[in-house]
Amino acid sequence: MPLTSNDPAAEARLVQRAVSGDADAFARLYDSYADRVFRFVAIRVSDARLAEDVTAQAFLKAWENLDRYEWRDVPFGAWLFRIARNLVIDHYRTRKEQASLDEVVEQPAPAPDVDAQIDMGRMIAQLHAAMHTLTDDQRQVLVMKFMDGLTTEEIARHMGKQPGAIRALQMRGLQALAGVIDKPDD
């Protein structure tokens, strides 16, 4: 049965077992987070295959670095997303993109020509393009809220922020997104 973010105590127990070396526990965490990590990455790289590679790498890296994880500092999901985000940045660094690091994070990747004929790739690209004007925090809040289905309180816990700050990020993100959608040329 997949773990849900509504049961942080159960997740904490699984993480504790994984930290102690329990591979089965970590595999269950993978089952719980694989979709969300993939979505988190896909919105940033606009390439389904690359998103799959980065997602797989994120879990391997998490397993190898579990010693450094402390539950009291940050929720496991947030720690996992941070690893995924760093891998995305590393990917673009390796490719020696001319764009600055901020642009990599904040701007859309090159046109989604690789997966243009694949529905999933097209959808990822459209979402990616729609969200490129958002800050990383706004994008993370909107992805968690509308794609992962988390509540405001759960997002606040994951991001280490107050619910009021999440509501503000959500509002500004949706305002920016509405501005993009309203433009007829876009």
Partner: protein
């Protein structure tokens, strides 16, 4: 008036729960209706993203690779509490062994495996003493007591004698009349003790100016029938650990063959209460 971000969050929650429609929300917050309509429309666009998910084949394949990687690279993180517990237990055990060894060494006589440890702890103690003469006299007392306790005829007698002679040689460094007077008093007491167990040490005789007759000077000490010594615990002096030393005053006098004139004996200075000399460890 409710803030726009709060109104938006409330509307999104109601829509997610199915307890309200978009129109219901706009009626609920008429002051924000225009802005809410645009944002709720953007939110509905985003919800299409829920369809963004990895393929089942990728998930299964990545999971299999992850499990294989975990089996090939198992994590063996030591439990900090357990590791600390073991380290603590080991450390305490080692400390207990060290304390027991040092304590046992204080009663060791020449020839005993712990005797070297006794000498090492004495050297450390000696370096920490503010009064070198008092320390050297206390150590000379110890050597004298060891010589008196060493069973006659055993190979350890020679070792004990050499140790005592080294202690006497240390005293030669003190040349002032006051120091010499102090030394002579202590050595006289030691001579008496050794005489009670029929031990003659030529170097000691020379120190105190009693030169035995030529015919009675033996090349090595003559030791006969040293009785087993009772022991008492002395009070700690200046932070030093309590030491067990023999009380020579309780000894019966057993003189069987003596080459020097007998001398009246009292006791080792360090063995007496109120002794001004420091007590070695």
């Amino acid at each position: 008036m409710i803030d726009l971000d709060t109104a938006l969050d409330d509307c999104l929650t109601r829509l997610a729960n199915g307890t309200a429609t978009v129109d219901d929300c706009l009626r609920l917050y008429p002051e924000h209706a225009a802005e809410l309509r645009r944002m709720l429309a953007a939110a509905s666009t985003l919800e299409r993203g829920r369809a963004v998910r990895p393929s089942d084949s990728f998930k299964a394949d990545a999971r299999a690779r992850l499990v294989a990687h975990m089996k090939a690279n198992p994590r063996r993180r030591a439990q900090p509490a357990a590791a600390f517990g073991w380290a603590l237990r080991f450390g305490l055990a080692a400390l207990a062994v060290a304390i027991a060894s040092v304590s046992a060494a204080q009663a060791a006589l020449p020839g005993n495996p712990l005797y070297s440890l006794k000498l090492v702890t004495e050297s450390v103690w000696r370096m920490a003493q503010p009064n070198p003469l008092a320390a050297d006299l206390a150590l000379a007392d110890r050597r004298a007591a060891e010589l008196a306790q060493t069973p006659p005829g055993s190979p350890a007698v020679q070792l004990a004698l050499q140790g005592y002679e080294r202690a006497l040689a240390q005293l030669a460094r003190y040349t002032s009349p006051a120091d010499r007077a102090t030394i002579m008093n202590v050595l006289a007491a030691q001579k008496e003790i050794l005489s009670r167990v029929d031990v003659v040490v030529p170097a000691l005789e020379q120190w105190i100016g009693v030169t035995p007759p030529a015919t009675s000077v033996a090349p090595t000490p003559v030791v006969t029938s040293v009785p087993t010594l009772p022991a008492v615990v002395l009070p700690t002096v200046s932070g030093q650990p309590t030491v067990t030393v023999p009380v020579l005053t309780a000894l019966p006098i057993v003189a069987t063959r003596t080459l020097v004139p007998p001398v009246i004996v009292t006791a080792l200075p360090t063995a007496l209460p109120g002794n001004p000399l420091p007590t070695p460890p």
